[in-house]
């Protein structure tokens, strides 16, 4: 290190135009010229697109030609291109950690309008980086092995496809599902748009594939409680709830449910029918294992008597599992919007008003009515569909479009036409968003079938009221006036919302949520299934509302991304970790107390604290705590940050 310090600093500075993204506001050429006057800078250039091939080549050539030992690129966020440029300098033989990035796009040109002041700011930022870079030290990345296994959380269609794709590549997959069966929302659907495939017919064979796959271990009726570790070495603690039925022994014959005297609400049928305390949510459930709901069980013991497989086990307890995996895919799905949050719609007040998902169960031949649309004991004649319930609604805080309701409403309307040919069907829509493959054609087909599309404005007031003994009136008020629609059946096109426990799960995974509550990807366009937390990937509606084709495509993408570290077998870990200067450590162990990862321990022989490099995450709290100045965190050492501060603010100082 001494040798390094004595070597003269030779810095190259590259100021990007990013087309006009930067150059329209910041005088990139002026900033480069300014940079060339800074201490240690031997070459400074501005360039149209520094990240382009010739831009990268320019940097590599300069490193060799000018003998550069520090490189600074002033362009976009380091969260975007720091890895790109680190690779560039490495290819030219320079240590990646002698590269420093300056963010003059997201933090400057895109947020300021005064060209002169923005250019001054860009100069300050570059001066800070030049000062900091002169004190950077080369660091070596650590390599750690990758446990060749993947935990997929959520067994809906996204989780299933993610699991199958990783498992097909030959890696172990633990698929953790909260409910007693996999299948998710798709298992509840009747037909699927725009092809009108039967949902169960296409889904259930896949559910069986998941269960039979030799590389997939299905863990149902289980929830993730905590995640520790890092990419390559996660420890996932899972609580597997007691079913009071031995999964190995249960044959799924259903004798227990037949004799069970307790009838309770069936959540899978959204309360439209009942089920027993001993139950499977639906006949095609996977695994086909019954569950005994002990909270509601009368303890009559009949199930145990009739179970020939002797699978009933009243003594079963919740189990704590610890799974070890190299990567994690979150596929936790969505909740449907609760229309009680818009009480004027009359949901639950009038039996005529139901949600889209309830309609799916109503028209499903294995549903509570055997596929007959029946409301108040008779077939409805006037059917009104209301779109955008809980979507595109700033008032209730959901500004986003849920993406699948326009099409599922068109599907509902077509299926209603099929069941009740003379029905009078009206769709109250805001905009018909028919953007997917075959969607526009599907929408046209609905119009051709005589379904009336009536436009309402996005902020229209909608309320329902009783109009005669068993019908309701749907009222719409917007700039076109007040209009009323009498209906026997009103179907609310409820949108998607983040899972009610999304925040808690984001905390467990240490990932972020967008303002709308859906999980945040690293980059919406270029890293749409990655998260900033290495080794954790996103699939399906937990990231944003999407339909089945998009969910499946994204699940396969997440699986492909997650398989990269699994296939490589090792990953590089950022070397930005704590280090102890043993000469200064007084052994007070303050840092050991503050460390959240037990990465610091006291060496009894040396009487100093030592760092476990594999456990340290590099937060730097120990450095802030150390009373003797012995503890520092690499790449963010006091003197490096001091230099940056001085560079950002000089010429100056008080007075």
């Amino acid at each position: 290190m001494e040798e390094m310090r004595s070597e003269r600093v030779r810095t190259g500075v590259y100021v990007c135009h990013c087309g006009v993204n930067i150059a329209a506001i910041v005088d990139s050429a002026g900033v480069a010229k300014f940079a060339s006057s800074l201490p240690g800078v031997v070459i400074a250039r501005d360039y149209l697109y520094t990240c382009s091939d010739p831009g990268q080549e320019m940097i590599r050539n300069d490193i060799k030609e000018y003998g550069l030992n520090r490189v600074i690129v002033a362009s976009c966020s380091p969260r975007m291109h720091e890895p790109t440029f680190r690779k560039v300098v490495e290819e030219a033989g320079l240590n990646a950690y002698l590269f420093e990035m300056v963010n003059i796009r997201e933090h400057c040109s895109w947020v300021h309008t005064d060209k002169e002041k923005a250019t001054e700011k860009a100069k300050d930022l570059v001066r800070g980086a030049v000062a900091r870079a002169s004190l950077l030290e080369p660091l070596e990345r650590m390599k750690v092995g990758v446990i060749p296994a993947c935990v997929v959380v959520g067994g809906g269609v996204s989780g299933m496809f993610a699991a199958l794709s990783v498992a097909d590549k030959g890696f172990k997959v633990y698929l953790v599902e909260k409910e007693t069966s996999i299948g998710g929302h798709m298992a509840q659907l009747d037909k699927t748009f725009p092809t009108l495939d039967c949902s169960a017919c296409i889904l259930t064979p896949k559910m069986v594939d998941v269960a039979r796959h030799k590389n997939i271990e299905l863990i149902t009726y289980a929830e993730v409680e905590s995640v520790e570790g890092y990419i390559g070495n996660f420890k996932v603690r899972v609580k597997k709830k007691a079913r009071y039925v031995d999964e190995e022994k249960c044959t799924g014959c259903g004798e227990c449910a037949k004799v069970c005297p307790v009838t309770i609400t069936n959540e899978f049928e959204l309360g439209l029918s009942g089920r027993k305390a001993a139950y499977v949510p639906f006949p095609q459930a996977v695994p086909l294992v019954y569950t005994l709901e002990r909270d509601r069980c009368m303890r009559c013991g009949l199930c145990e008597v009739v179970c020939e497989a002797e699978a009933i086990n009243y003594e079963q307890r919740d189990e704590e599992l610890e799974l070890e995996a190299g990567v994690i895919i979150a596929a936790t799905g969505y909740d449907t919007f609760d229309p009680l949050k818009k009480p004027k719609l009359g949901y639950k007040e009038f039996p005529n008003v139901i949600t889209g998902l309830e309609f799916e169960r109503l028209i499903n031949s294995s549903g509570p009515t055997g596929g007959e649309i029946v409301i108040n004991g008779k077939e409805p004649k006037d059917v009104v569909f209301i779109q955008c319930v809980g979507s595109r609604d700033k008032e209730i805080g959901n500004e986003y479009c849920s993406r699948f309701c326009c099409m599922y409403t068109a599907k509902h309307a077509l299926l209603t036409r099929e069941h009740i040919p003379d029905a009078n069907i009206t769709i109250l829509y805001t905009d018909v968003r028919a953007f997917g493959k075959g969607f526009e054609e599907f929408y046209n087909r609905a119009r051709d079938e005589g379904i009336k599309y009536v436009r309402k404005e996005i902020d229209a007031k909608i309320w329902t009221e009783r109009c005669d003994s068993d019908r309701v009136m749907v009222n719409v008020e917007d700039s076109m006036g007040v209009r009323g629609f009498e209906a026997d059946l009103v179907v609310l096109a409820t949108g998607a919302t983040p899972r009610s426990d999304a925040k808690e799960f984001a905390r467990i995974l240490r990932i972020s949520q967008r303002a709308d509550g859906f999980f945040m990807e690293t980059h919406q366009k270029l890293q749409p299934v990655d998260t900033p937390t290495g080794g954790i990937f996103l699939a399906g509606c937990c990231q944003s509302p999407k339909d089945i084709p998009d969910s499946v495509a994204q699940a396969c993408a997440a699986a492909a991304r997650a398989s990269i570290p699994l296939m490589k077998g090792e990953v590089e870990i950022e070397p930005l970790i704590a280090s102890v200067d043993e000469a200064f450590c007084v052994g007070c162990r303050s840092c050991e107390m503050i460390c959240a990862y037990e990465a610091l321990s006291f060496d009894d022989k040396k009487r100093v604290v030592v760092v476990n490099e594999a456990l340290c995450k590099g937060c730097g709290s120990c450095s802030t705590t150390c009373p003797s100045g012995a503890m520092s965190v690499k790449h963010y050492m006091d003197r490096q940050v001091f230099a940056q501060i001085d560079g950002l603010l000089s010429p100056g100082g008080i007075m």
Partner: protein, 245 residues
């Protein structure tokens, strides 16, 4: 440019929050300069004071929302330290509002822009630092790099976790910080002016003889100053040990 603002952003929430403001083109005043750190818990008050000494008029520390810190509790560590520093700023009439801790989620680009604009306005109203500020800021830096306060701050989270009274602990931290400030002001005076006796230092700093004497004893105990001769006024003369610190 006045006011100059340094904003420390953690890598996981606040920095992407600032990026998100950029991607969304939410405008805010040009005064803020962002420094990226891995965690707000890395923001030592020493770094904050260095920023003020180097010419910043205001410093913001931005981290993840409570309960969402990427490193469990770094944001609480930051908040505790900055709160204490803010207290001292008010006590020494430097304007505690020059310092702010904010929680910014990765999605809160708008909040980032709004908070920055508001902070720039706040600092603009407080105005520039006065001449005497630099000396006090340097004493504060010594105080926050001093062993006693660092040990007390370092023990805080464990003490609070094991049931210590939060308010009481905060009061203790304030008391320690004030005592340390006095001690380092005495040291600064000796460092600047050479050998002085207790009485002269007490008069210069407006402290009582008793508390000044205590400071001398502490500094002597820590090996930072040494005793000299007895002065004409029969008070002991002390000098700063050169080469220390």
């Amino acid at each position: 440019m006045f006011p100059k603002i340094i904003t420390f952003c953690c890598n996981w929430c606040a920095y992407p929050g600032a990026d998100f403001a950029g991607i969304s083109h939410f405008k805010y005043p040009v005064n803020a300069r962002i420094i990226r750190v891995m965690c707000s818990g890395r923001v030592d008050p020493g770094l904050v004071l260095e920023a003020f000494i180097s010419g910043a008029d205001g410093v913001m520390v931005m981290g993840c929302h409570p309960g969402e810190c990427h490193y469990e509790h770094g944001n609480y560590e930051a908040e505790r330290r900055i709160k204490l520093l803010r207290y001292l700023f008010d006590k020494y009439e430097l304007g505690g509002k020059r310092l702010r801790v904010e929680w910014i989620a990765a999605s809160e680009g708008r909040k980032f822009a709004e908070v920055t604009a508001d902070f720039v306005e706040t600092v603009r109203k407080i105005g520039a630092f006065q001449e005497k500020a630099r000396e006090i800021l340097e004493v504060m830096k010594d105080t926050f790099y001093g062993e006693r306060l660092r040990l007390a701050l370092g023990a805080a989270s464990r003490a609070l976790d094991s049931g210590a009274d939060g308010e009481k602990y905060e009061e203790t931290l304030k008391k320690i910080a004030e005592e340390e400030m006095k001690k380092y002001r005495v040291l600064q005076t000796l460092r600047k002016e050479g050998e002085l006796c207790v009485r002269v230092v007490a008069e210069k700093l407006g402290l009582s003889l008793r508390e000044t004497f205590d400071c001398f004893l502490d500094l002597k105990h820590e090996g930072l100053i040494e005793e000299g001769d007895i002065g004409e006024d029969r008070y002991m003369i002390y000098g700063f040990v050169r080469g220390e610190r």
